[in-house]
Symmetry: D2
Subunit: 332 residues, 4 copies
């Protein structure tokens, strides 16, 4: 039996805990959350509610980190020290020197560490990556990505999130590397506040356009915002030499209504936990399979480091109005 402790029982923590507990051969033995009211969840999955110290002192195979961002680094270091496998939600830390230090420590420790970039496990994104990697589409030349939220987050969340680039766009930065299959050479970004002035007052942006060039000359463009008409907008266009791959948004139902002014389809899905239900299940299964001797998962701690480096470069580009050259090991 693979024994796990789950840290954090918020929305995403509950998803991971339930998914982990449903995998044959996996037991969630500890659920650690000093705040959330998660007795019912613990009971349902057969876990004990523990504090971090007790959980880490038990005989574990791995830990699942879904707690608040400011606790990630410490838990990663604790796992590295104890030789525990880790599944960790992004980001590693909002403080860049800490990102560097933790990434190095985790790699030096040799533990298995998987980063929670669930979009890599989404059937659509994965199919795009696999089809391009297979050579069937011809060389990828231009990658166009869209990420939009159903609406602006609460200002409290904005303040704690590290900003739209490190919080939301980091998934696109990761996808850019994953789908292109190579590193980014330059980043240019426009960012401002067009949706909600309160976000600007909190020091963040809510509207974003990023243009990147990969080492081999591919172009990547991203447009992101915190606006609602497209629900949880997660589209992609991969322009390849032989074909173009699109990921469309899934409508909430398959109903279409034709009236005098046109035909109306249902609005797109607007909740990330529903949109990525299959992806969250698949990534936890991949983590469990890894612990049980299977292959390495699709995202490791170095991917978290690199995606965040791109987010930092975009922050720098917005601040200076200039593109950032990532070659030569640029760091913020």
């Amino acid at each position: 039996m693979t024994r796990l402790a789950v840290f954090g029982a918020g929305r995403i923590g509950a998803v991971h805990a339930m998914n982990a507990a449903a995998i044959p051969g996996v037991a969630v033995v500890h659920l650690v959350d000093p705040v959330a009211d998660c007795d019912a969840l613990a009971a349902r999955i057969g876990a004990r509610r523990s504090d971090a110290h007790d959980a880490l002192s038990d005989d574990l195979d791995g830990i699942v980190i879904c707690s608040s961002t400011d606790s990630h680094a410490e838990l990663l270091l604790a796992a590295a020290e104890r030789g525990l496998a880790v599944f960790c939600e992004k980001p590693i830390s909002l403080d860049w020197p800490t990102v560097v230090r933790v990434t190095d420590a985790v790699e030096a420790s040799g533990i298995r560490c998987m980063l929670g970039f669930q979009r890599r496990y989404d059937p659509n994104f994965r199919a795009v990556r696999d089809r391009i990697a297979s050579g069937r589409s011809g060389r990828l030349e231009q990658l166009v990505m869209h990420t939009r939220d159903p609406g602006p987050p609460p200002i409290d969340y904005v303040r704690r999130s590290g900003g739209m680039l490190r919080d939301q766009a980091i998934h696109d930065f990761d996808q850019a590397r994953y789908i292109c299959g190579e590193e980014i050479a330059t980043v240019y970004a426009l960012g401002n506040c067009q949706v909600d002035p309160a976000i600007g007052e909190a020091g963040d942006i809510d509207t974003l356009a990023v243009t990147m060039l990969t080492r081999s000359g591919r172009m990547v463009t991203m447009t992101n915002n915190r606006r609602g008409p497209l629900g949880y907008d997660q589209r992609l266009e991969a322009h390849c030499a032989a074909e173009v791959l699109f990921i469309d948004n899934r409508p909430q139902t398959d109903l279409r209504i034709a009236g005098p002014t046109g035909q109306m389809t249902a609005p797109p899905m607007d909740y990330f936990i529903a949109r990525f239900e299959a992806a969250y299940r698949a990534e936890m299964e991949a983590f469990a399979a890894w612990l049980q001797g299977g292959p390495a998962p699709l995202a490791g701690i170095r991917d978290g480091f690199e995606a965040q480096r791109l987010a930092e470069a975009a922050v720098a580009s917005i601040a200076t109005g200039q593109p950032v050259d990532l070659e030569g090991g640029w760091q913020p």
Copy 2:
């Protein structure tokens, strides 16, 4: 130079006259319409406005009959007598014995006679027919057709039209034979008045469902009405052994608007002359090519006879509530 006279300068007559005049090697030398104000049209295409007698006495290669339905039979017979090629809009006549007599006379005369089933020349319908005929789709098993008008016609038109089955649904009956590539064995029809009571008072129906079986056992279903939300609804599903072919309605523009309640596309095209612009051009070109030595066109007078026989069978089925067996040469 191929010399034509066009009879009738209403909406469809104007389309045919202009299309004919634009074909290299074709001249519309007479335009015959005692009623319509068509001097401008005649001038534009270089035709003389004539009466029927003068036109038929001239040296002609063929005539194009787009005049009112009650004049079709007489003009067809006149052409048969004079050995003139004919393009004739459907129907041959609203009176069945006349249909029989004129069809026989035209065939006996040996003249070239093309019927105006323009849907056979529509790029979509033709592609379906050709793909099925090529064997690529596998055997056609079920054919589902939809025809709807953007709205009920004027009651005056209803009275003169011969009824929805002979006026509107006749195109579907023709398509059934054309796409199946064989004759119909049985017809069962439901017809009533759900759209506009005035249509019922005028003795017609406005809502229709037809189910047919072909000789080899294929099933054909049609649903038709005079309702508007789908504009000029002209859809088709051809269920074959290896694939299913769909014809969708073309939206008026390619604009799509995403708002909080869903995504709205433009309404479908709602005017038959715009919807079948390419088909009308192609069928007149086919007629001209035939006169200039090319192959026979896709629809002849016997197709007009057979489509109308199916319409008559549907009329009989609605009247009796029973299916009509067309084998053994059923006639109304």
Copy 3:
């Protein structure tokens, strides 16, 4: 705690058992299946594996009948005798006199009895029904339904199934009544064997077209077969006075690939358990809610009786080549 026994642990039985067990306040205390290897399932949901006698002798609130068709009648009667609530998969029985007898007995007993027409709980079909019932669409005039299977069933299944009309099309007959909100007056059906000759040799059909008229004059057409290109084809068009409602098939993914010959979307979902996952969950929740004092569910035993009466009428229509008039209490 609402205590249930589940009879039958095949594909659909496993779905219902898991869904029931996941509802707060519901316990599946017995799982009855003399054949299936369902120890793991029983363990997972905390049920005891029992034989029918033990299960029915226990203190139960209701039973869930997902066992083989030939056991439905006996279990329904057992429930009626004991005053147990029942959820029963369709059909009641393949033998019409038994259908009549069991329906009468269940109704006379006063027990709560829900029939498993899960399509009534599908978010798409339910939205269509609700929107029409609300008056917003205007009067429903024509209902067009399509049901196709991903491929022909095994011949063994064909032999036990009662035939395509009672097995597959019964869902469409139920939908016709549910969405029209009234009874059917006449049924006309074409049925033959175009997909797999072995089905014909087993005495069944695999291709079907049904045309029906409701009491108030609405038209309903169904086309069904056992062919694959549309996967698990479950489409609908509801033509109403003010708008047209469509249910489209859901593609397996949201990927679209543009190549030189066009744009390809993913194939539609092809497994009924995945297609109706939400519907199965919702119908079991409705059953549980009913037992816990909530409103009556969307389908009762009389709905099972009436849908099957329509299937029997279609069987008779195919046999005679004539429409069947259902008024005056027609029975096979």
Copy 4:
């Protein structure tokens, strides 16, 4: 009668000449092309084949310039001198000082001068502009545009074209200004050669990504190339505060084919003259209406100047790797 001379009888010249001749009250009296074999065209529209001198010496209301790019400036100046109205295809000139000089001269002369940005007259693009301008969509925040050709142009054309930015992308630069309704403040561009090395050897690019910021802070991204899978790709997304407007590519037919691997729609239109047929007709009608006393058309010479200034800024950005600040009257 409005008397026009048309200069240039190539593909686009023939379109404009035919469209102009079909407008009531307009006569094309001269067709000037020293090279093209255009006697048949001249005969069809009732024009005389003339040389430039004779045509300009006649009594004209205006001229239509569709001749080769290197003749535009001279003809524009000739029209300015003679007080003739002009319709001129883009670009004004490939030489920037000439663009400045001609624009100033035309404006100083007071003649009516319309630039051939036909996309402004396309029903889709115009509907987007009008809907945004009406306020109904809320404030435009992000504009995403795609332009792709069905395939790389001949290398000869590449050499004469002024490069992809001045030849193809200039339409997008014009749309950016037209749809945003304001001027661009900064331009950042990536350009390289990924499609055809011969284009790179000829000194041009074939793949492009542009990011722009408008004065009020809107973001505009463009991705362009010379690749084929999307035909003549002309899509747009306008992300506004209340809704998102999309322009999709029109498929060549309305046929959809469902097979075992998915559903295939027809490929998009792949010829600009067919794609913009309605737009070309509408822009020539607007020019004629202007000459006959109607309102000014949607694009004047200053729009040609500004779109080209953006193209020059993109050229500069690609050369330097830096964004170009257009404020303060930047010129190349």
